[in-house]
């Protein structure tokens, strides 16, 4: 990685992000918002890989995210080991998400564009309804997860009833996922994905095995979403199977990364982060101001969404970049 001006800027921002919590560690609400921003930026990035780069507009990301959450939930519900140490379930949740991704892809990748999106919505809803009606998964009541016990190291103790550990975990996960998608998009593999997105038939004529590549992308994207879902379940300590906003397997969850990525800019690396700051940050702020009236934050989001559509089809980052280039 050579030290261009852009990279120096990124490193400075990273250091600020790592040091900043020492200044506002007492402000738990701000920390909570930051955790959500990082978490949903990472989720949006996993959607961005699949939809932005590979051109497969999945509306089933809740399936991976939610089943990742349920992996943690089911393990803590039924086994003693995971009650004490739920952390390995992050990896397991990732694999559950990845396998579901491959399974969903194997069924749905025969369909293209909007039909693919519809099939993924339906599959997610089928799974949600089954999960909600099964005893094994805690049924309609959902699963409550206990706060993980603190981890002691010789130097300090990590107390998971506080927000600070989650701030660092989500931040690091976000950086890792962003880096993974960044390296993919700059590799030969990323180029192949873009060729599929732009013209699948032409790519296949030139010998690109589109089906296998799409499945592999689904695997990675599902893995990321699964890990994040498992982490989300531990962080929120509750898994909500309902149809209302907040339920992990609902269309609302699937839509969240779509909104974030499109506002920020699809098929860009920075886009999902910008989108997340706007969607989660401003959304939470509005929810505090207009707390007495539900839905105000989503009205704002819908409005921004339409605005972005008419003013900047490539999202906010796309707009910024085109402005910078022309100067």
């Amino acid at each position: 990685m050579k030290l261009s001006r852009q990279n120096i800027l990124l490193i400075i921002l990273t250091i600020i992000a790592l040091v900043a919590p020492t200044q506002f560690a007492t402000n738990t609400y701000l920390l909570h918002v930051m955790v959500l921003i990082f978490l949903f930026a990472a989720l949006a990035q996993s959607w961005n890989l699949l939809a932005g780069y590979a051109g497969q507009p999945s509306l089933g990301h809740a399936l991976f995210f939610g089943m990742g959450a349920y992996t943690t939930g089911i393990l803590t519900l039924h086994t003693q080991y995971f009650k004490i140490n739920p952390w390995p379930s992050l990896i397991l949740g990732g694999f559950v998400g990845a396998l579901l991704g491959v399974a969903l892809g194997a069924i749905c990748f025969r369909l293209r564009g909007p039909y693919f999106a519809l099939a993924t919505i339906s599959a997610t809803e089928v799974v949600r309804l089954i999960v909600m009606n099964s005893e094994f998964t805690g049924g309609a009541l959902g699963i409550t997860i206990r706060v993980p016990p603190p981890i002691s190291t010789p130097f300090f103790t990590i107390d998971f009833s506080e927000k600070l550990p989650y701030y660092y975990i989500t931040f690091i996960l976000m950086i890792v996922f962003f880096y993974v998608v960044y390296s993919i998009s700059n590799s030969r593999y990323g180029l192949l994905l873009r060729s599929i997105r732009d013209d699948e038939d032409a790519a296949m004529t030139l010998g690109v095995n589109a089906f296998r590549l799409k499945l592999f992308t689904m695997f990675i994207s599902g893995f990321m979403a699964g890990v994040l879902g498992a982490l989300y379940a531990i962080y929120i300590s509750y898994i909500d199977p309902s149809l209302d906003p907040g339920g992990v397997l609902t269309l609302f969850t699937s839509i969240e990364p779509v909104i974030i990525t499109i506002i920020g800019g699809a098929a860009t690396i920075i886009g999902p982060f910008i989108g997340s700051v706007i969607r989660i940050g401003v959304g939470e702020y509005l929810r505090v101001i207009f707390g007495w009236r539900a839905g105000m934050d989503l009205i704002f989001v819908g409005f921004i969404f339409l605005l972005v559509f008419f003013l900047a089809r490539k999202g906010i980052w796309g707009l910024i970049r085109s402005r910078i280039k022309f100067k």
Partner: protein, 286 residues
């Protein structure tokens, strides 16, 4: 005897619900045909139609039956305005229209939530109950079904017999060819967009007779309409009626066989199967 009665009753109720879904889906199909716009906010306009009927009854005690033509006129107008100012930007753009109408859907749903709250509302009217042999059907179902059938027949007649209706179909099939024959595609799109939205609003106003009204119902109605459209093949208006009936009946059978909260599963599984094996629709050749 009792079992036969039950089965017959399931099928009759499914048929009636399905017919209403079909009108909403017909509107979506029409919008797609005329403009190539896949309207993900369609169910939300149907819910707006439901609220129209509800508020006209609550505030002015206007009978829901009179609200139906009012909703038709109102949503025809709304549809023309939206076509003229919003859909115009995404004509023929599949992905663009999805993104745009998706944003519209979020906006409408949450404005409804903000203004009217999330309560489940119902119009408190009763039309008694009718018995046909072993089957007993609520009066509001009968009324809703009669109005739906009337609406579907009128729409069909309009599309197949009148000049404007034929022009709408011409534009759906090939806008350029239609223009060379002296049809103004823009004007026809305006009428088609108005009619498509009017069918959503009217379908909603009819649905309000028999169903609960709440803001987030929109997304479910949109999904049903999409499923029905895919069953029928997008743009195929007649097929939507059969698609609607299939969904309606499948759901009401599921209501008896499965726990209540599991019923939508049947529709979605049917949908995935159709997508996989007949991706161009059940009622299309080839």
């Amino acid at each position: 005897m009792a079992l036969e009665g039950l089965i017959a009753s399931i099928i009759v109720h499914g048929l009636m619900l399905g017919a209403i879904y079909a009108t909403i889906a017909m509107g979506m199909s029409l919008l797609f045909g005329v403009m190539g716009v896949k309207n993900l906010a369609h169910g939300d306009f149907a819910v707006l139609g439901m609220y129209t009927s509800f508020w006209l009854f609550t505030l002015f005690s206007i009978s829901p039956l009179i609200s139906i033509p009012i909703a038709f006129a109102l949503f025809f107008f709304i549809g023309m305005v939206i076509t003229r100012f919003i859909f115009k930007h995404v004509i023929g753009e599949m992905l663009g229209s999805i993104i745009l109408t998706f944003g519209l859907s979020i906006l409408i749903e949450n404005v409804m939530l903000l203004v009217w709250g999330g309560d489940y509302r119902k119009i408190p009217v009763e039309y008694g109950s009718y018995s046909f042999g072993p089957i007993s059907v609520g009066g509001s179902y009968v009324v809703a079904f009669a109005v739906t059938i009337l609406l579907i027949i009128l729409t069909q007649l309009f599309l197949s017999r009148t000049k404007i209706g034929i022009a709408i179909r011409a534009v759906s099939q090939d806008p350029e060819a239609a223009e060379t024959l002296g049809i103004s595609a823009d004007t026809i799109r305006l009428v088609g967009g108005g009619l498509g939205m009017a069918l959503a609003g009217t379908g909603g106003a009819i649905l309000a007779l028999i169903y609960y009204i709440f803001p987030y119902l929109g997304i479910l109605l949109t999904l049903y309409a999409l499923i029905i459209c895919v069953f029928a093949g997008l743009g195929n208006v007649v097929g939507t009626i059969f698609g609607g009936i299939i969904i309606g009946i499948a759901q009401s059978i599921a209501t008896v066989q499965l726990p209540y909260s599991l019923t939508p599963v049947v529709g979605f599984i049917l949908f995935i199967l159709v997508l996989l094996f007949r991706p161009k629709g059940l009622f299309t050749r080839g």
